[in-house]
Symmetry: C2
Subunit: 460 residues, 2 copies
Amino acid sequence: MKAFMEPKSVALIGVSRKSGPGSFNIMENMMQYGYKGRIFPVNPKAREILGTKVYPTIRSVREEVDLAVISTPRENALSILEDCAASKVKAAIIVNQGYADADDKGKEIQQGILEVARRGGMRVLGPNTLGVLNNFNGFTTSFMPIGKERSPVGLICQSGILFVGAMEFSGAIGKGIDIGNACDIGFYDALRYLGEDPDIKIIAIHMEGLNQAREFASLAARVVKEKPIIILKTGSSERGAASAMTHSGTMAGNYHVYRAALQKTGVTFLEEDGKMFYAVKTLGSLPPMKGGKVAVITFSGAAGIMISDALERHGLSLSSLTANTIRSTAELSPEWMPLGNPLDIWPAVMKHGAAKAYSVALRAVMNDPNVDGVICVAIAPEMPAFSFLDVSGAINEAMEEAPQKPVVAWLYGPNPLEMRKHFESAKRIMTYPTLELASWSLSILRDRHKVLGMKKSEMR
Amino acid sequence: MKAFMEPKSVALIGVSRKSGPGSFNIMENMMQYGYKGRIFPVNPKAREILGTKVYPTIRSVREEVDLAVISTPRENALSILEDCAASKVKAAIIVNQGYADADDKGKEIQQGILEVARRGGMRVLGPNTLGVLNNFNGFTTSFMPIGKERSPVGLICQSGILFVGAMEFSGAIGKGIDIGNACDIGFYDALRYLGEDPDIKIIAIHMEGLNQAREFASLAARVVKEKPIIILKTGSSERGAASAMTHSGTMAGNYHVYRAALQKTGVTFLEEDGKMFYAVKTLGSLPPMKGGKVAVITFSGAAGIMISDALERHGLSLSSLTANTIRSTAELSPEWMPLGNPLDIWPAVMKHGAAKAYSVALRAVMNDPNVDGVICVAIAPEMPAFSFLDVSGAINEAMEEAPQKPVVAWLYGPNPLEMRKHFESAKRIMTYPTLELASWSLSILRDRHKVLGMKKSEMR
């Protein structure tokens, strides 16, 4: 994978003469991205592209080439790859569609690609891929613009839209590998690379089909002890599996068998889109949860009830708070107020102000030995008019001396974006758009703690 | 309910002398809100509040009072209510907590409230409520600020946070009733009022406990033929049900029995928080879906697979597109491109541009007799740099002559807020943050069509 992720020189075969918005010029994107190595554009119809000398074929490049990025119609793929092999290119990315994702002819060409690569000692990524992204050395082969953050999140996917749109899918990624049709480099190779990479602390995977399933599972069980791995496996439906055949040309396989096998390795397994972002945010920022007992601090009794329901759906339960914890909030509340878990602090807020009430309650539950994790329901008020309802300062202060337990929050009100930033500023508390997601996030932290405590023999 | 929703005069008993941010002054909020009727503040310790003469007791108000809003500690509730009855007040809202939601003493007082009200021919809303909201005459009894839109959405709830935060819970509401502990006015009365109200076209309900269950179900089955009713029933877990007792003091009852009975009436029944907003948006804006066959138009094969999976989870399936529909997109696509449903138009986009490809595909599926509804996957590009990927104009134009079928969209990319507005501008297409929600939204439109076609005898 090193030739793909950290090439010293790159040949761009079939690079377009057009540049600017809408031209999707891979060379332009690579240069704007800050690649420091040498670029050799190859195009028999051009002499110069973006101020750089163009070569008619890869054979005419007389210097060492680590990586060839091939963006030509499939008809030329085999002969170009033969040329790459002859020129001792170490690795090739085949960008275009029209292979095993398309028709019988495409399948045949893809098979040929693999044979040429094996003979020439070359590794191939794709076809049907945007290639790679490495924000730690400013390198990408994507022809679409892509985020530049040095995030500890690594992404492996089989889709261009999730690759360039990683910000929405998984949050910012530091390194990414789009394996596309995965004719050679697959999930196994990609996971091995990211698993060993010290820049990467957590790995997000979008999976359609899986080759080398046994080797992958064994590797995942090893890597997951060091780094959380989250997998969204698609193709659970018959039609979805059939579509996977015409999208990445890979076999989705028996979904239920894959799910059981992958879950056993200790990875976080997702069934629905939209959850990867929150899984990464949760596992990447919060500590594992030692048990399944949760305390709820809430401005709203109604929300407390919804959380009780959601916790049960996710296999967690409400802690029995100690008398000490109850007493601390009872001292702030009216005499008639029944207190328990969920800990409804609204009457205390009305009497003593939001910051005071929240701070007292949070310190108490964090130090309660019966509590493994906490869900906070707070208000996201309009600022500055309703700043007296903003508890973000108070809770972050209370967290400074608090034990290592995960705390998640749901913010309700007209100003969630600004308040989320305040809540998450110290990276001790993460926020979620629904109580369902907040409750679920604690369940995956509970699972994470179990995985870290498991012996290797239990995981395979 | 008329005395609550359209009072000509209101007495505010126990109104505070403090005003401004943080004082939660109910009178100040009512005046800022634009109430046109007469307000009689009642407070034995003040002579003037916000420039208005204050009465020492309700008995000293010698004019007709439609509605009394009582915000005093529970110790005084019964004697004040007796005074209201003596003064021929028609309706009373009891704002404070501390009744059946609290302890035995509170339960006893609440029972007394009901007895006084019955004897005096007075209706009571609460205790433990923010009261009502009517944006069609500028009236609210909430002591917290609240939206002012004349929306056709009516809300019934048992929680102040969902009442003042309706914008996040259900989207903007035009009328709202917080029934709180529901000692007298309950879901039945509130639904009857909103069901008959010509300003209200759709009804959102947050339900903890339900009294008069049989009458409510019978009424709901009748109203739902005219207006969609969406119910989030909380308290599915044992602990959640127990919390409902200490929140609104109402019995959550056997959740599974309630669910079965309510679903039979044809209402849209929700299990998780976060869905009410999308249910209202969907049922309030899109036509019912005649069958369960869905066409998918997508920029991304990966998203098409996820939709196939999600449709199956929600009891829907992919249409078999007619040869004509396939041909229309095939003409824009490379020869090798396998086309079906999901209809992957990315290669057509690369050849002919996004607007052309989307427009052709959408017209074709909308006119396909095998298609009951459509899911669109599109990009939310940065503007204006990537405006060539914006298909919002093209799809809204294509929708102008299209048959009445629901179309939902998922937008992927860095600019979802702006693009959502463009997509939804003609109110023919609604957008969702996940494919799961987009697929689910079609399933509730399918259910809605079934309900409208059902005979009344099938619904009870």
